[in-house]
């Protein structure tokens, strides 16, 4: 969670609302696909990321050779565990996000963002969900907990999609609590181009 966000990019919350949130604690969002949320949500992604004790090789970019010519169904459940980490062609996530690919499907899982939405492009097959707490705190372990946001979307020839992530901050000092734009994910595969292109625009 970033604490310093440009004033020009913020929502502002009243203090009363912030206090209320702190008291009420958990506010889970429902998954768009209960099966996916239960078995292939952020938890599944995390396991894939930590499966190797050795330093993992640097993620490679998604290339056309990874993608079947025919469209496939979106991966479900544990299928995502076999997905490989990929890197964007340009830009980087700073919100603890990991991007994985399986066939023509990519999953972006962010550990410290609190929302996301498909800004533009065909919504078919796109899923977005958020889980966790805004300012979670586990009294048993005396540790902070974080929220997660996950986005699944296809990478297909001739199509482009734009996804914006949302972060949330308590603000600086006594500043108000805020929600605002985080990175923007741009996934495009222009007709006639050999390769897809994935960019992460800065906050």
């Amino acid at each position: 969670m970033k604490l310093a966000i440009s004033r020009t990019k913020l929502f502002v919350l009243s203090s009363a609302v912030v206090v209320l949130a702190g008291l009420t604690g958990v506010a889970f969002a429902s998954s768009p696909d209960s099966t996916a949320a239960a078995s292939a949500g952020p938890a599944g992604s995390t396991s894939a990321a930590t499966s190797s004790a050795a330093a993992p090789p640097a993620p490679k970019q998604l290339v056309a050779a990874d993608i079947p010519a025919e469209a496939s169904e979106a991966p479900k459940g544990k299928e995502w565990e076999s997905a490989r980490l990929i890197a964007p062609n340009r830009g980087n996530f700073i919100g603890g996000c990991k991007m994985r690919a399986l066939r023509e499907w990519i999953r972006v899982s962010c550990e410290s963002y609190h929302g996301a939405g498909l800004v533009a492009g065909d919504p078919a097959g796109v899923k977005v969900w958020a889980e966790g707490e805004l300012w979670g705190f586990d009294a048993k372990t005396n540790t902070s907990t974080t929220s997660h946001v996950t986005v699944d979307l296809p990478v297909r020839r001739g199509e482009s999609r734009i996804v914006t992530f949302v972060d949330f901050s308590e603000g600086d000092g006594y500043g108000p609590a805020m929600a605002g734009e985080a990175e923007t994910l741009i996934v495009t595969w222009r007709a006639g181009e050999a390769e897809p292109y994935i960019a992460v625009a800065p906050d």
Partner: protein, 753 residues
């Protein structure tokens, strides 16, 4: 100010010739500037269309060009009526800058082997020339004094033009390798954009105010021949030109509106024009709506000829604090003629942690953060003014006029404005109060070296040339050369810097005057003058769209109450500020200064109130005073050819001046075609998305230059002058008796004013 030395340079016509400077060791450089000489200077490429010549660095016009040997930069000094000719090296000195006087203000340059083409916006009449020189004020020493009053010009004189020009220059050994005019072609006034086909045979020239595009045969230019192939009427304010790699098609951008003009059969006897749709910022446009666009100065085509990029401003695109909209780079897939940006789609998934039940905060459809705004303004482009495509990195370099920087954008994404890769700040020495740059202000022209490692940028408000080493070490990439001093009196020169600047929180706050009033004209847009309450506080400000009230600053997302949205079309200001006053839609401001202060209150949201509590308020007002000086003496009116009225226009003039029509009772010819009084006319039908006017007494607008500022009325409800006259009845004067031919005649006369 070194105007005296300028004059002497001008008289000498001395210029630096490319290919004629000594190389290291004193050996003369091989000449490539003489027509017909062998090419491949310094190992540079040969023009594939003519193997005896060196290839041009670029055939697309800009306010700056590099000669084929890349040793000389040629700058269109529009505000100096001259070309600045500068050695293109890292350590160029001011003393090495040469100036070539021109017959009028240049706009764009293309430098080829043995040929330089320049568009000239106007060849003023002798009377207009004298008037334009007078504006520059008294002796240079006097100009330097703070407080030097602006000289209000008479727009009816300054506008007088003999037409626009396309000038052809060739290197001339008699002037030490300098430039010699070899041909000129008179075109419609306000000749601006320029590009040459890859074979060097044809040039495409836009005439902005005239709404025309000319195709010119330049194959014989070196021998003194320029021949017009055709002239095509196009939509308002055609500006930049981009030619496809095959030389058969040209795309014309417009300063107003979203569509391009496409010129086909460019290599044939009869090129033809058609509209090429290119919707603005469709990835960031609210569902079911379309947004308008402005500032389409610089279309760019990639090296493969597959993509056209058009940096511009999307009026009404959604985003945080985007009361004005957002900058965008709209992309066109040339083979299909379709936009490349994905559109927003109803039902797109979005999700966030619920908070407070979602009732007060983050109601899903209204949640701006996932409604589609792009990268922050601080990192992005503000007032895109010029652009080039960088093939080696597949990026665009865009001159961001408002924030004094060049921004490198990823050209592989559908809207490169969303994906800034690097920012090169050029402005420096910012004024404490006005926040305008004292050097590197308002970058307005850019050219890229052939190897794409160096960008040269001309800064219009400070007259500086920036050299950016694109692959250099951070912090060591920029070198600056002050090319010339401002030719305006001191105060007006400061006002010029304010006019382009978008950084001042008090005066611009993210969008400079030049954005809505490019060249002092208008953006053709009907804004919302909004008055509403949020979080208990009353706010008044302009909004591009009613819906953008939810993006209002620190109150983003808060409910909007007691809202009124009045329609206000951007007025043209160049040549309309000579009178003492009153000003304002209802004549509510006694003079220009009063109007500007009131206007900034609307632009910036209660500006006066904030500044009144600020000890710097006096400084802010002083800045506004500088701005007023520039508006009155620096923003020159559009050029208009002096000619006799034709029979139809003469008939229209008779109607206009007739007692029955009564036009001149309010539009008084002797006082800029207005009596500056307010009248309650019949109420226009309130348009959807706006609120009913509370004050129907609108000040009589000047009709000067009305032919080029459609649409009409405060709400833009009349698309054309013909529509306005046809539907007038007796609302203004009385035109009920006019037959259709009479109506057309009256409209035709109005277009001449």
């Amino acid at each position: 100010m070194v105007r005296a030395s300028f004059v002497s340079l001008t008289l000498s016509l001395a210029v630096v010739g490319w290919g004629c400077q000594g190389q290291e060791g004193g050996a003369p450089a091989p000449s490539a500037s003489t027509p017909g000489s062998s090419a491949s200077i310094d190992g540079g490429p040969v023009d594939p269309a003519n193997p005896t010549r060196a290839a041009a660095v670029t055939l697309q016009g800009s306010g700056i060009a590099l000669t084929p040997d890349e040793r000389t930069a040629i700058i269109a000094g529009e505000d100096s009526d001259a070309l600045f000719i500068v050695p293109a090296k890292t350590d160029s000195k001011r003393e090495e800058v040469k100036m070539l006087a021109l017959p009028g203000p240049p706009a764009q340059v293309v430098a080829m082997d043995g040929l330089v083409l320049v568009t000239i916006r106007t060849l003023p009449t002798a009377e207009a020339k004298v008037a334009r020189d007078v504006i520059k004020g008294p002796a240079p020493a006097e100009q330097q004094k703070r407080g030097t009053p602006a000289i209000r010009f008479d727009p009816s004189v300054v506008k007088k033009s003999q037409g626009g020009l396309l000038l052809a220059f060739a290197p001339d050994a008699a002037f030490d390798g300098g430039l010699r005019e070899v041909a000129r072609l008179t075109l419609a006034p306000d000749a601006w954009g320029l590009a040459v086909t890859p074979d060097g045979a044809r040039a495409v020239v836009t005439s902005a105010w005239s709404g025309e595009v000319s195709v010119v045969d330049v194959s014989g230019a070196r021998e003194g021949k320029l021949a017009k192939v055709t002239t095509l009427s196009v939509a308002r304010e055609p500006r930049g030109v981009a030619v496809s790699p095959d030389g058969k098609t040209a795309y014309i951008s417009h300063l107003v509106g979203t569509s391009l003009t496409r010129i086909d059969d460019l290599d044939q006897a009869s090129p033809r024009a058609s509209e090429q749709a290119l919707p603005a910022a469709i990835s960031r446009t609210a569902l079911g709506t379309k947004v308008n666009a402005s500032l389409g100065y610089a279309p760019v085509i990639d090296a493969e000829g597959k993509t056209l990029f058009l940096p511009r401003h999307a009026l009404g695109a959604e985003g945080m604090e985007s009361w004005w909209g957002l900058p965008t780079v709209d992309t066109l897939d040339i083979p299909t003629g379709k936009p490349l940006q994905p559109a927003r789609v109803a039902g797109s998934p979005k999700h966030a942690l619920a908070f407070d039940g979602g009732a007060r905060f983050m109601p899903a459809p209204e949640w701006g953060a996932i409604e589609g705004f792009g990268p922050s303004q601080e990192e992005g482009v503000v007032q895109p003014r010029a652009a080039v495509y960088r093939k080696k990195s597949k990026t665009l370099l865009v001159a961001s006029e408002g924030f004094d920087r060049v921004v490198e954008l990823d050209a592989r994404v559908p809207d490169p404005a969303m994906m800034p890769v690097r920012t090169f700040p050029i402005g420096d020495g910012y004024d404490k109060f006005g926040d305008y740059a004292k050097s590197g202000g308002a970058p307005s022209a850019i050219v890229l070296s052939r190897d794409e490692t160096v960008a040269w940028v001309f800064c219009r408000s400070t007259f500086d040339l920036a050299r950016i080493e694109l692959d250099g070490a951070p912090g060591k990439q920029l070198t600056m050369l002050h090319v010339a001093d401002d030719g305006l009196p001191f105060d007006a020169a400061l006002g010029r810097r304010l006019y382009y600047n978008a950084r001042s929180d008090a005066l611009s706050g993210g969008l400079g005057c030049a954005s809505c009033h490019p060249d002092g004209r208008d953006d053709g847009y009907v804004w919302r003058e909004a008055h509403f309450t949020q979080e208990g506080g009353k706010t008044s400000r302009f909004l591009a769209l009613r819906e953008l009230s939810k993006f209002n600053g620190m109150f983003m997302g808060a409910p909007v109450e007691d809202a009124k949205f009045y329609a206000r079309q951007t007025p043209m200001i160049a040549g309309r500020l000579r009178a003492d006053g009153p000003y304002g839609w209802h004549g509510e401001n006694k003079d220009v200064l009063d109007r500007l202060i009131a206007g900034f209150s609307l632009h910036r949201g209660n500006w006066q109130r904030w500044s009144a509590a600020n000890k710097d308020v006096g400084q802010d007002v002083a800045k506004v005073d500088y701005l007023a000086d520039y508006l009155r003496s620096g923003l020159l009116p559009p050029p208009v050819v002096e000619r006799e009225l034709d029979a139809v226009e003469t008939k229209g003039k008779e109607i206009f001046e007739s007692k029955q029509a009564k036009c001149t009772s309010c539009h008084v010819p002797e006082t800029e075609l207005t009596d500056r009084k307010s009248y309650e006319l019949g109420r226009l039908r309130t348009l959807a998305g706006f609120d009913e006017e509370e004050n129907d007494a609108f000040k009589t607008p000047s009709l000067r230059f009305i032919g080029g500022s459609a649409p009409y009325f405060h709400d833009g409800s009349a698309a054309t002058l013909d529509d306005l006259v046809r539907n007038n009845g007796n609302r203004m004067g009385d035109t009920r008796h006019l037959q259709p031919d009479d109506q057309k005649a009256l409209a035709a006369y109005l277009r001449t004013l």
